[in-house]
């Protein structure tokens, strides 16, 4: 069979097709699992925040309200699709897609456990930062094209906020890059496993702090949700969106949160590994598959997202900018300086 095929099409193309097929299957699996996580992230969020506010949260759809995400999805799917009369239609159609695709594309470079990554890029970390910047285009364009003052203000705020915190986030990750000597996320995790503490959060606590704060701002979550501040801007940049276009923004935002959590787990908390001194102490823990550790770290940070949302009010706009430029960026620069000096000292360059 193969020989017949190879006579028809060019030799070697079977392997190529097979590789593409495997990648497609991987993509389908990752997207399906990620969207399921997004669905239940909303449920988890509503439950956590409700209980923190001494409420019950969703309980009616299915046992303990477990089918609530699907009910919400079906509801959004059948909602009327309203487009403002004076909207810039092509951009209005395009911007939620840009936002959502940028979020989904970031999933490609995340190693979920050892060896499982769709695209094992050498510039994985840079790619993630680039994709989160591209997502900001979706936000800005949606604010512009809606032709509504609330959307426009939300878009402007998103632009300045994302650009400010992008810098801090990139700089906070430079320390990790110096320590790991690589931009490949799998290599970063392996470098952490080889490192004595097992996680980069202990030497890189400054970078970790800057990253956590910047991650909140990057995903437009409280206390930095100024682009969609509902008490001032109705819903911010997606005020004019309804139905499934709104759902795309919603999915994109939660996918972004999952990606930031994954990035934090990979760069600072050791990804799918746990520190070696723990496995030396309790040997059977090494039999637990890596995906379990990875997901535990991601869920813990997602919980932290909700926890902070239930606790803190929104920052004022000048406070937001002051934190970004006057606190986080200098902190990240100090972190880079110290990390670089220590690394040079260890290598005997000083």
């Amino acid at each position: 069979m193969n020989t017949i095929l190879e006579t028809i099409i060019a030799p070697g193309s079977i392997d190529f097709a097979l590789a593409i097929g495997i990648i497609l299957v991987k993509i389908a699996v990752v997207i399906a699992i990620a969207l399921l996580h997004v669905a239940y992230a909303t449920y988890f969020e509503r439950k956590v925040i409700a209980h923190m506010q001494v409420r019950l949260g969703p309980r009616e759809v299915g046992p303990y309200g477990l089918f609530q995400p699907f009910a919400d999805g079906i509801k959004l799917f059948f909602k009327e699709d309203i487009i403002p009369a004076k909207a810039d239609k092509p951009l209005f159609y395009l911007s939620p897609v840009i936002f959502f695709i940028a979020a989904l594309t970031s999933l490609a470079v995340l190693p979920f456990f050892d060896g499982f990554v769709i695209a094992d890029l050498n510039i994985g970390l840079l790619f993630l930062l680039a994709m989160s910047s591209l997502g900001a285009y979706g936000i800005i364009l949606s604010g512009w094209s809606s032709n509504s003052k609330f959307s426009f203000l939300g878009g402007l705020r998103a632009a300045s906020q994302v650009i400010s915190y992008e810098i801090a986030m990139g700089l906070s990750l430079v320390g990790v890059m110096i320590m790991a000597g690589s931009l490949n996320l799998s290599d970063i995790v392996r470098a952490q496993h080889a490192y004595p503490t097992g996680v980069f959060v202990i030497p890189q606590f400054l970078g970790f702090f800057v990253f956590v704060v910047a991650a909140f701002a990057e995903t437009n979550r409280l206390p930095f949700d100024l682009p969609e501040a509902e008490s001032e801007l109705v819903a911010g940049y997606f005020t004019e969106y309804s139905g499934f276009r709104f759902a795309l923004f919603f999915l994109g935002e939660y996918t972004g949160m999952l990606i930031m959590s994954s990035l934090l787990a990979l760069c600072f908390l050791g990804g799918w590994t746990i520190p070696r001194f723990i496995t030396d102490f309790i040997p059977f823990l090494s039999a637990v598959p890596g995906i379990v550790w990875f997901l535990m770290k991601v869920y813990a940070f997602m919980f932290f997202y909700y926890w902070v949302r239930a606790t803190l009010p929104r920052y004022r706009y000048d406070q937001l900018m002051a934190i970004g430029w006057k606190l986080l960026i200098p902190l990240a620069l100090i972190n880079i300086l110290i990390t670089g000096l220590v690394k040079a000292w260890i290598k005997g360059l000083l």
Binding site: V48, A50, H51, M52, Q53, V54, R55, L56, R59, W307, V308, A310, T311, L312
Partner: protein
Amino acid sequence: MTVGNLIKSIFFIEILKGLSLTLRTLFTRPVTRRYPKVERPAQPGFRGLHALAKDETGRMKCVGCGLCGAYCPSQCIYIYTTEGDDHTKEVDRYEIEVLRCIYCGFCVEACPFGAISLSEHYEYSSYSRDDLYMTKQKLLENWDNYFAGQKGIRYYHDFWRPKLEDFRGSEEQASIGRRNAT
């Protein structure tokens, strides 16, 4: 800025306090009442849907004097009377427009015979206005539904004693209890 304040702002003491508060609240019991599934019992003396009282023989207590209608601030009580066979007053129609009622309870206080009352029933939403226009027939049925037996007697004794019988109010009634205390 003092050193203490500086340490507080560097280590986010206030934010950590807030986080610990929300975390502790996470494990407390929610206060939500799951209303349609778990009904909330009406407090004693609750002023809900109207009912026309019946005496022991099952006859309507109302004599059609019209005091309730005269007192009613939203003027939603309509009474139509005619002269009966032996020169008695016959109440032909006694109607309350429930959607206009403000549940002040003045009609109950005004009534010298304890004929009109406000029951503890409060779930009577409907799709049509006509369902909420209470005719004499419906009001008498309300009495059977919500005040049957001892309940109506007890309710009258505790909260809506007609002024004909006793001018003093119940001790349980909030305003009167307060007046007696001072």
